[in-house]
Symmetry: C3
Subunit: 338 residues, 3 copies
């Protein structure tokens, strides 16, 4: 727990309100609760500053002009652009972890009938549910919670504090909780923004070989129950993937994407960041999604469009050289007719 | 070995023929031998039911109308659609494996001059051929057979019962024998179909870093001799890749694809499921293959076409905005001429 | 160190010049120093044979017709095409490595405050800088040099002789120094060309989960300081990636590509081999780069073009079926007007 003043000092900012108010953790504007501190760097958040549940909000001094605040809000006003302070802020809130001493750390809680193969590392304060099977060369870092009947194949990594539901299957080489690709660019340098969120994988999910699921920057990456993710898929930080989705091999999903239930993304599809995809959407292979997709649509292509229209577009594409010739011929004929 | 009756009881089906006939294993319609049991769920198989070598065939009751069977065929008729029974059926036929006890299990057969680095796990009933080198943090699970002079780099996983030929090289992080992406969707839920096949990698094959080769669902995934597979390639379940192919980085091949000999798939190509690609085919980078490709063709694009035509199509594509303008101009001129 | 004669004998070639001259190592035509031996198989190199700093050059006999050499150059003339001799030549120059004996080899040099978790392998003659953290199930092979304050997450592989700068972060499953995809095709067989270069990763670089960075064939693959590489990215052999680049998830870069500083390649971009990309270039997601890109350009598409033009092209693409109809209508109208 930290006082508002401590954080203000860290960021060389001024406090407007109760300096001694205590906050527990840093959270995103939308997901924050009353005991959290948050920040607003984008205009859309600054104008809605009373809508975050966080009592304490960090904003740049220059954004404090026309704000009318709820009485109980406390502000930290910074001279520097808040975006540029994020590396410092997240580093401050990153949880410290213990040193790694023994193959199976003594403070890990291993359930009944758990099978741990030789050569796997089980970190501090981990919880492994009943009848879970852990194959060789698996690494499970500090604070990870794993449910019952989970199968974790060889060479899987589950990083700090991630949560794995019951009956989950992780194929070999899958990585859960790698850092998201988050940097604050100052001049030409990219300063790392510590990724302090985690990954939550709900029950009955399967993750394919060598797939990678990034942890949230602030807040969590969530894969909801029953979803199946194929080999070599990339899931970016803070993505929320709905229930019973099928995410086929080599799909890449950028950060902060929200996907509904029963969605199918076929192989090698790419999804740009901060988008929403509704329920029951089907996206054909190799499509590139750069805009919101409403529920129940079947789409394909790059740019993405209705699947049937895209099929027609693809057929027409192969006629393009011929079309060029036909246009040239028409131009000549029209010229002659004039 | 199981009696037909046992399996009929499992599926709540009726036997037509000899209930006490014994079957050894479950096999695919096409690959089955006389001692196997198989199933027919698709029309193309049901109509050709006498062509499978399997003596025992499982079909849905409703498909048993106009069949004229060879005398020695035995049927199991199920009330439920056979597709929906697959999870149960494959679970039944999945081989049980032993518990993992020691870093190098005592019943493994290690050939002469084999070098096993510290920290690698060698499973039960494995066979490792002469002069093979196994780097650290490798996991080789039960029943795997590895040839002579094989090099297995760190963090490689070879799952149960897979076979690796002589002189094969597996780059770091490669996964051989992960489960294929196979589910039976019942309502909105995706029920796992156990993948009971294996991967067979013939001699002189090389597999790139963090590539993943899925095991067959029923029957095997096969990579034939001399083929080279680059980093981060995905090979789906039951694929058969011919001899001396070059499969470049990040290619993704869906399940049940058959590829001939001497084929080159350049980087990031995607191949849809259940397709055939002939011998000596060359596919340019980033192409998407959704139909059969005959031997000796050079193709590219998405949709795929003759490579030279695709190059013309790609050039024409960059003229599209201009073409639109020219059409508009023509329309106006023609209007004026009328 | 080897005499020119030894190497000539290996390749069944003749020496023109000092047979007893000693060479230290094999190097590429462009990167060679005076103490190196190199080879020239492509015309562009043969005609510029005096420009390599290497004293000793291997060429095919038939290419020795119209060459006028600097006095101190020594030639090895081979009957066989030099390309086909490469497997033999590189195998000869490949450094032998020691056998792997203990989890932390005794001749490794571990700096102050280095934390090595259980189950990680630290190879012979490695150097690990101060305060570096090595998580479980990491493999660091012979001769690797690692700087200070480096973080190496679980299941990472760093192969022989690679160099990792200060403050580098390697996310789980990343592979540094896998063999490049290099073969000499003789008849239908692909003969492996040993990859004798290494990977040099400069300071402040981050490499994503399950990314793979191939070592150089001859000469090195280099990732310059401050560059950040996302999950599942493929970097080919001999690539030189500039400073402060952002290479987003699932990008694939073929071999021998040179990329400038401050370049952004968005997700799933592919880059063909032997190309140059200038400084400050931005490439949008899923683009395919098959030609040189000059500095300061923003490009996208496949074929790649100016980003704004590509956006217009993509919009026009969705109008293609309609354009076809309009052309048909025009043709009819023009026919009627004739």
């Amino acid at each position: 727990m930290y006082t508002v003043e401590e954080i203000a000092n860290l960021l060389e900012g001024k406090v407007v309100g109760d300096k001694l108010k205590k906050v527990i953790s840093l959270s995103s504007f939308i997901e924050a609760t009353e005991s959290d501190i948050t920040f607003a760097s984008e205009k859309k958040f600054i104008s809605k500053i009373n809508q975050t549940k966080a009592k304490v909000v960090i904003i740049s001094e220059e954004n404090n002009k026309e704000l009318t605040l709820k009485e109980d809000k406390i502000l930290i006003l910074t001279k520097t652009d808040v975006r540029k302070l994020l590396p410092k802020l997240l580093k401050f809130f990153k949880k410290e972890t213990k040193s790694l001493d023994e193959l199976i750390e003594k403070d890990s809680k291993i359930g009944k009938n758990v099978k741990i193969a030789p050569n796997s590392y089980i970190g501090h304060n981990t919880t492994i549910g009943e009848s879970t099977i852990i194959y060789p060369n698996v690494t499970i870092l500090e604070g990870v919670k794993i449910g019952k009947n989970v199968i974790i194949y060889p060479n899987v990594t589950i990083r700090e504090f991630c949560e794995i539901g019951d009956n989950v299957i992780l194929q070999p080489g899958a990585v859960i909780g790698s850092d998201g690709f988050g940097y604050a660019t100052v001049g030409e340098k990219h300063i790392k923004i510590e990724q302090i969120g985690k990954v939550i994988i709900e029950e009955n999910v399967e993750i394919g070989a060598n797939a990678s699921i990034d942890r949230g920057a602030i807040g969590d990456t969530i894969i909801k129950k029953g979803t199946k993710i194929d080999n070599l898929v990339h899931i970016g930080h803070n993505d929320k993937i709905g229930e019973n989705c099928l995410i086929v091999a080599q799909v890449g999903i950028s950060g902060s994407v929200e996907i509904g239930n029963n969605v199918i993304l076929a192989g090698q599809v790419g999804v740009a960041g901060h988008l929403k995809i509704g329920d029951n959407v089907i996206v054909a292979a190799k499509s590139g999604i750069t805009k919101e997709i409403k529920s129940n649509l079947r789409v394909s292509g790059f740019p993405v469009q209705d699947h049937k229209k895209d099929l027609k577009t693809k057929i027409a594409m192969t006629k393009l050289p011929e079309m060029l010739k036909r246009i040239k011929k028409l131009e000549k004929e029209v010229e002659d007719l004039k």
